[in-house]
């Protein structure tokens, strides 16, 4: 298990849990919803940096030589990225806690609220597809990180006892 995969998995789990919390502002409260969403933007940048090599490789080969699955994955990732930007932008525009706390007053536009709701719902579908596409990697890495390591101490202690 490489450290890179472990880092990716732990970051992705954290991002996913934070994403779930931000999807329910009534449960978390508006302030947590807004600040956590801003923090999520940072983790998404790190997520992109950790997968930079894949992004560059597929971009180069997109129209030349790559599988349809990789193409679909690539387009889906772009859709998720664009939708994420729309969620962030519309969220900033309707912010009632984070932006005022930073001293930023933005002009109100009724369209941002509905855009925020719509893009958040769309993100759920795209995120579902994104997770499904990477499910094998998630499951394999999860088992290696959380269960393979736990077996070693047992084996060592068994040997010591013998």
């Amino acid at each position: 298990m490489s450290n890179s995969n472990r880092t990716k998995l732990l970051l992705d789990i954290g991002t996913f849990l934070a994403f779930l919390v931000t999807m329910d502002p009534r449960f978390s409260g508006l302030a947590i919803h807004e600040w956590l969403s801003i923090a999520l933007a940072g983790t998404i940048i790190v997520h992109l940096l950790l997968n930079w090599e894949w992004i560059v490789n597929v971009t180069r080969r997109l129209f030349v030589k790559t599988t349809n699955g990789a193409r679909f994955n690539y387009v889906l990732n772009w859709l998720l990225f664009i939708d994420g930007i729309l969620i962030m932008l519309s969220g900033i525009m309707i912010s009632e806690s984070a932006m005022p706390a930073l001293g930023v007053t933005l002009p109100m536009n009724f369209a941002w609220r509905s855009l925020h709701d719509m893009s958040a719902n769309l993100a759920l579908f795209i995120m579902g597809l994104h997770l499904a596409m990477h499910w094998n990697w998630i499951l394999t890495t999860f088992i290696r990180v959380f269960f393979s390591g736990a077996k070693k101490p047992v084996a060592v202690s068994a040997k010591q006892e013998a």
């Binding site: 779930l20 329910d24 109100m108």
Partner: protein, 105 residues
Amino acid sequence: MKIVFQVLVILVIAALIGGLMYAGVNAAGSSSVPSFDGERLEQPAAEGFALEGREFRPDGDHDERDGEAGFPGGVVKALVLMSFAGGVYSAVVWAGRKAKRVTAQ
């Protein structure tokens, strides 16, 4: 240095896309709502919300600002929708593989 460049690329692309969206929404003409002395105006009630005074307030006695320790319905909704999308994807992939096997035989 390489990472700084990569971060800059991400931020520039995000800024370009965000700028286009902002311009698009403004161009749609719905942004021409004037504000009064810099104050934020009321927004129309979204689904499941009702306006009380000058604030967004969810239906009933809930207040979105403080949150509530009750049942996290939004989280469950998110999980259900993501599972549905994932299920649809898996079904399509499974059907595609099955069709390939049948064609190969």
